[in-house]
């Protein structure tokens, strides 16, 4: 069983809450849920929609065909009715021109003097139409609206429920041991679990909800948030906090990352650990603020002048985002480098059912003990691993220097050519040392398959879903992109390789070719601002009519 519900309307009509309520309630029924958002850069108006895909089997991607459209305006019906399956139907107010369950929701909302109740009445209709558990929806309503207008919401739901008829019978699914969370929430939660001390950022869509989530819990947890005057300040505040010994993170999207570029070099040469989140959106400059893409990989690989160690982790889904964020903090501390977490608008706004996250965590900042360091502390001591023993200012009776010039082991500015050579190599050695901590890409499907779909980050869902129904293909999805893990790639290099990416130039394939000489046989590239799904991959491989 797989069902696909679309909720559409103009920005500001409350689709987001509605979609969240439906998603969470379906999860509590025991279904797997995938809620996907398509919105415009508007506070009011425009056409926004959410797609809730749910099943008794794990769901990893969105799909095109719809079972139900919950329409808050006529535009939603007109734009999406062609996507309805033959037995699909619309739920909406009786004033709409559509086929399906049309309820007097606006009149009834007025009758109970609950003007915002229209959505809840339609929700009641949906609960009845799918023969779902009304009690679960009432509980979720209370939770989501924090008990505001509780009686009115309950009445509205009952009204809709009683006006509608059962149209679909779903298989029962009862054991719910999941959570429903989106990518940005998972990154924020991961940073808290990792022991975040300071988060500084400047708002930029689609990264802002990382800060929003952290703000909601700043009072209860032990970290501080600073909204900076610009992204340049944001990253420097985080670097300063990290240099002083707390775990620090900043988050932005491509434009903000562009402003942070010089400071990325500062973290690397001062060997200050830092986690930098890039929630990608397409386009140079302002581009498409509310759309998705994977076009920042090439940029981040070389952002900031000269050569220095960095790590780039592309997160694949909310569960991965949570655990990889914790790992990013660990690796940043262990190797004293900038670690990038790259996500995208699709993941940022997609709620997915995942296994409940581990709740208790230990963090390790890999700080040196006093007996590990000499009387004259060498902050940049040259070591075989490239990693120097790190203490933090004020920790022991020794001053700690952080410097952004080329410097000697004690942090004294130096232009000596021998020192420069040794220091440069010391820092670059960290790239080799951290290879032992790299995670190989996920292999999906059967090794008998002769064609490999290779992607990174959020295309995992689409590749997984496609490979499941097309066993002649297998998938290879990278999380750690840089340094590039090589074992799986080399093992599969004799097969036909197709890269699947949300950019126009095949940035992952370029990286792989650059690092290994392996060339791709074909590519599936989508860069229209929308997330790829299994149907898109199928169409690209087989053409529209097969």
């Amino acid at each position: 069983m797989k069902k696909n519900i679309l909720i559409g309307g103009a920005a500001g009509q409350g689709m987001k809450s509605l979609s969240h309520i439906i998603g969470l309630a379906l999860k509590r029924h025991g279904y797997y849920v995938h809620t996907h958002t398509v919105y415009m850069s508007r506070i009011r108006g425009g056409h926004n929609f959410f797609q809730i895909h749910f099943s008794d089997q794990p769901v990893t991607t969105h799909s095109h065909k719809l079972d139900t459209i919950l329409a808050l305006n006529q535009e939603t019906v007109d734009k999406h009715k062609n996507r309805l399956k033959s037995d699909g139907f619309v739920i909406g107010d009786e004033s709409l021109s559509a086929q399906g369950l049309l309820l007097p929701s606006k009149n009834q909302a007025q009758a109970i003097n609950h003007l915002k109740g229209n959505n809840i009445i339609l929700l009641g209709g949906l609960v009845k139409a799918f023969n779902l558990d009304k009690k679960i929806f009432l509980d979720v309503l209370d939770q989501v609206f924090k008990n505001k207008a509780l009686d009115l919401n309950h009445r509205a739901l009952e009204i809709g429920y009683n006006l509608a008829q059962v149209k679909v019978q779903l298989p029962n699914k009862t054991d719910d041991n999941h959570m429903l969370i989106n990518g940005n929430q998972a990154i924020a939660l991961g940073s808290i679990a990792a022991g975040l001390g300071v988060f500084s950022a400047y708002p930029m869509t689609p990264s802002t909800s990382v800060m929003n989530y952290l703000l909601d819990h700043e009072k209860d947890m032990n970290y501080k948030i600073e909204q900076a005057e610009d992204e340049i300040s944001a990253i420097h505040i985080a670097i300063g906090a990290s240099a002083a010994g707390v775990r620090a993170m900043t988050a932005s999207s491509g434009g903000g990352l562009s402003l942070m570029v010089e400071a990325i070099g500062l973290t690397a040469v001062s060997e200050t650990p830092l986690v930098i989140v890039d929630v990608m959106r397409p386009g140079p400059a302002t581009g498409l603020p509310t759309k998705t893409g994977q076009s920042d990989l090439s940029f981040l690989l070389t952002a900031s002048q000269d050569e220095f160690p960095r790590m780039i982790i592309a997160v694949k889904n909310p569960e991965d985002a949570f655990y990889q964020t914790i790992r990013a903090f660990d690796l940043a501390d262990k190797y004293q480098i900038p670690v990038f977490i790259i996500s995208d608008q699709y993941l940022a706004d997609t709620d997915l059912t995942v296994d409940i996250f581990k709740s208790s965590h230990q963090n390790n900042q890999y700080l040196a003990d006093e007996h590990d360091i000499d009387e004259i502390y060498e902050r940049y001591k040259i070591t075989p691993s490239g990693v120097s023993p790190r203490i933090i200012p004020g920790q022991y009776n020794r001053p700690v220097i952080a410097d952004n010039h080329e410097h000697t082991e004690t942090g004294v500015i130096s232009e000596d050519p021998i020192n420069r050579t040794e220091m440069h190599l010391k820092r670059l050695r960290k790239l080799d040392t951290l290879r032992k901590d790299l995670i190989e890409p996920d292999f999906i499907g059967s090794d008998k398959a002769e064609t490999v779909l290779v992607g990174f980050g959020s295309t995992e869902g689409a590749i997984k879903s496609f490979v499941k129904n097309h066993p002649e293909y297998c998938g290879l999805v990278f999380g750690d992109v840089y340094p590039l893990p090589l074992n799986q790639l080399e093992a599969l290099s004799n097969k036909t390789l197709i890269n699947v990416e949300l950019n126009a130039t095949g940035q992952l394939a370029k990286l792989i070719r650059m690092e290994t000489g392996i060339k791709f046989d074909d590519s599936i590239l989508k860069f229209d601002g929308l997330q790829i799904n299994a149907e898109d991959i199928k169409e690209a491989l087989y053409g529209k009519h097969i």
Binding site: M179, E226, E229, G240, V246, G394, R398, P399, V400
Partner: protein
């Protein structure tokens, strides 16, 4: 180590020009932090890039040498992470008022507890004598051969209008007076800025040591009077008042929110209560 300011000395070779005001500022700074009872491991010198920004190399203390213009944001991060560290930001007029102008503005709004020493020689030293944001109209510089045509900013008037609670002006070569001013700035609870006027023998031929001696005086006025402070800050070419120009109590950055101890925190974190929202 003997118990004098020399505990703050380093062996690093100083690369300032002979006669540079920076030598005097360095000496006053070391003497001040010594007399304040601070130690190298609980003092933090933060700078950007420029001649003034080389100061951390010449002080035996914790330091963070940041990018050009970017001294204040990491100083803020350090302050949030470890408020126990005594922070002195040392940067020039170009670093602070030019490249870092936006941070200067917003740092005043935040009011973190730190001392900001701006070594203001009204010219760019490191890049060989171009105009700076405080170069006076008519001054001949390496990129304004017919004299600077863009009027300077007045950093202290800017600071005052943004709500700065401690505003001082000093002259570099008056080492004792500067030292005492640095100590008072340190004792101030909040952001304390001292704009330190200094000659640049290499590139500023107008604002020489003799010129400063002739055109400055120590002002003894009601330092809580905003209008007077604003007026006095306006004198930058003659009758330049030195000392504390303005000092009023303000609410420091970290007092505005609940106090938190980020360092030495329990290394185990439980997020069970947060997960509840998602199940």
């Amino acid at each position: 180590m003997e118990n004098t300011f020399k505990i703050f000395n380093t062996d690093n070779k100083i690369s300032w020009c002979p006669g540079c005001g920076d030598y005097s500022i360095l000496q006053s700074l070391k003497q001040a932090i010594f007399e304040l009872g601070l130690k190298p491991h609980n003092t933090m010198i933060v700078s950007g890039i420029g001649q003034a920004a080389k100061t951390p190399q010449y002080v035996n203390a914790n330091s963070f040498n940041s990018l050009h213009g970017r001294a204040l944001p990491p100083a803020l991060g350090i302050h949030i992470a470890n408020p126990e560290l005594a922070i002195f930001v040392t940067s020039g007029d170009g670093d602070t008022y030019g490249e870092g102008g936006n941070h200067f503005i917003h740092n005043i709004r935040r009011n973190p507890n730190m001392v900001h020493l701006v070594y203001d020689n009204r010219v760019y030293g490191l890049t060989k004598g171009q105009t700076s944001p405080t170069t006076d109209i008519g001054n001949i510089t390496s990129n304004a051969k017919e004299g600077n045509k863009t009027p300077p900013i007045n950093p202290l008037q800017l600071a005052l209008t943004l709500g700065a609670g401690f505003v001082g002006r000093a002259y570099a070569h008056h080492r004792d007076e500067l030292k005492e001013l640095i100590k008072k700035a340190y004792e101030y609870d909040g952001y304390a800025i001292i704009d330190i006027l200094q000659p640049c023998p290499s590139f500023n031929k107008k604002n020489t040591a003799q010129w400063y001696e002739e055109n400055t005086y120590y002002s003894h006025h009601d330092t809580s009077d905003f209008s007077l402070a604003y007026e006095l800050s306006g004198y930058v070419n003659k009758n330049i008042p030195l000392g504390i120009l303005y000092e009023v109590k303000t609410e420091p950055f970290l007092d505005r929110t609940e106090k938190k101890d980020f360092l030495h925190k329990n290394q185990s974190i439980d997020i069970k209560s947060l997960i509840q929202d998602f199940v």
